[in-house]
């Protein structure tokens, strides 16, 4: 059997889900026998590649870059997985939503906070504009499976990846879908 093409991506999140992914420790060697990691923040790949079998997406959709990458992922992946609470629910990233217009938040942080220089970072093409509301991944693209947890513990990720490689995401169930 040829190796699966696996990708992981990092949208609006803290990278804790990827830290937990690395916490799978020696099982990563076994995973390397089963799948090639073709795109990931922990691999130096600049462009999302075509024909990916499984993509784990960490983080909520918080800005315009996130939307763009999410759409690229969807267009080039057979199975897209919301990886961790931010992708699944918005979680901490979405805690700004009740505060409304992100401009007010940027002003509070960059203009009114005493230790800042009073300028909101704006660099067209480099600093992506924030979306009015942070969205869970499945509100932006179709998602095929959900792996909650903040972060999902390493053994949970392993069981999920095994289920996904076996083509049976319905095995992600019971305690493995606990939020928080």
């Amino acid at each position: 059997m040829s190796k699966a093409r696996l990708a992981t991506a990092w949208l609006g999140g803290c990278s804790g889900c990827h830290m937990s992914f690395l916490d799978m420790d020696e099982w990563l060697f076994e995973l390397a026998d089963l799948a090639d990691l073709v795109y990931s923040p922990i691999a130096d790949v600049k462009v999302f590649p075509p024909d990916v079998d499984i993509t784990l997406v960490e983080g909520a959709v918080a800005n315009e870059d996130n939307v763009e990458l999410a759409r690229e992922i969807r267009a080039n992946s057979k199975v897209v997985v919301s990886f961790g609470d931010c992708a699944v629910t918005g979680n901490v990233t979405a805690m700004r939503n009740p505060l409304g217009d992100p401009l007010g938040i940027l002003e509070a942080v960059y203009v009114n906070a005493p230790d800042r220089n009073g300028v909101i970072p704006a660099e067209p093409g480099i600093v992506p504009p924030l979306l009015p509301q942070v969205q869970p991944l499945h509100k932006v693209i179709k998602v095929d499976a959900y792996l909650p947890g903040c972060p999902p513990p390493a053994d949970r990720i392993q069981r999920a990846v095994e289920a996904l490689l076996a083509g049976d995401p319905s095995r992600i169930t019971g305690e493995d879908i606990r939020f928080g």
Binding site: S82, D85, V88, T89, G90, N91, V92, A94, M95, N97, P98, L99, G100, Q133, P136, H138, K139, V143, Y146, P148, C150, I172, T173, G174, E175, I177, R178, F179, G180
Partner: protein, 247 residues
């Protein structure tokens, strides 16, 4: 003294059990170890029937019924876990998560939360509805307790335990529909309440992290619903009264 109560036979999921004629389906289920999910029901408090998690199907009855508010009937055949009920319960949970701001990762009750447990039990791995993300202010004015309405599911356990067990009636629900919110006294800060006795029963009975002790960090809050049920049941039976004074 043993209570003398008439018993009837009912069936849960095609298994016959003995139930008391004067109890509810929920009470019969709990005594017979039949799991019916619920978020607002607490043994010993009055029945609210508001969370709708305990909906059951009854043979020859077209409507779904809340187990907590449905009396036992002789020979009734109850189904507690059908595909239809599972779908409804999941949808209700998703609506609860979409209605407030439930961020498990930063909640005092993370790991000790009935809403979180219910999501696991009902297989809710994401919310299909749009989150409302309401803006709700936390009331931390009480010296001992904190009320965070973002985590409130309006189960009214606190309202009922304060009124019925403590007899203080500090809590109530104000407004309607999506604007419904818990208030203390006449919608004044909890810390200013002249009726609150600081007993903490509302905190003990809260199913989520909405009511907590001051100073608890993420995952540190533990509630004690069984203690409240014990108090209520003991009181209804007069267990701690002086037998001579009662006679």
């Amino acid at each position: 003294m043993r209570e003398l109560r008439t018993t009837v036979t009912i069936a849960f999921n095609d298994v016959e059990v003995e139930a008391f004629a004067d109890e509810t389906v929920m009470q019969a289920a709990r005594r017979n170890d039949v799991f019916i999910p619920s978020l607002c029901y607490v043994e010993g408090l009055s029945v609210w029937g508001g969370c709708r998690m305990c909906m059951i199907e009854i043979e020859e009855d077209r409507r779904l019924r809340p187990a907590c508010a449905t009396p036992v009937n002789p020979e009734m055949e109850v189904y507690t876990d059908t595909p239809k009920l599972r779908a409804h319960r999941k949808a209700i949970l998703e609506l609860l998560f979409a209605e407030g701001n439930h961020v498990c990762a930063v909640c005092v009750s993370n790991g000790n939360c009935e809403l979180q447990d219910m999501a696991v039990a009902c297989g809710m791995d994401h919310v299909r509805y749009d989150y409302r993300s309401p803006r709700r202010a936390v009331d931390a004015s009480h010296p001992k307790y904190v009320f965070d309405p973002n985590r409130c599911i309006l189960c009214t356990r606190c309202v009922r335990v304060c009124d019925e067990i403590e007899g203080a009636h500090v809590w109530d629900v104000a407004s309607h529909g999506a604007d419904a919110v818990l208030i203390t006294d006449l919608a004044t800060p909890w810390g200013d309440s002249t009726s609150c006795t600081w007993c903490g029963k509302c905190v003990a009975v809260c199913p989520t992290g909405s009511l907590s002790y001051q100073g608890t960090a993420v995952g540190e809050m533990e509630h004690s619903v069984s203690m409240i049920s014990r108090l209520a049941v003991a009181r209804s039976r007069g267990e701690w009264l002086d037998p001579e004074a009662v006679s």
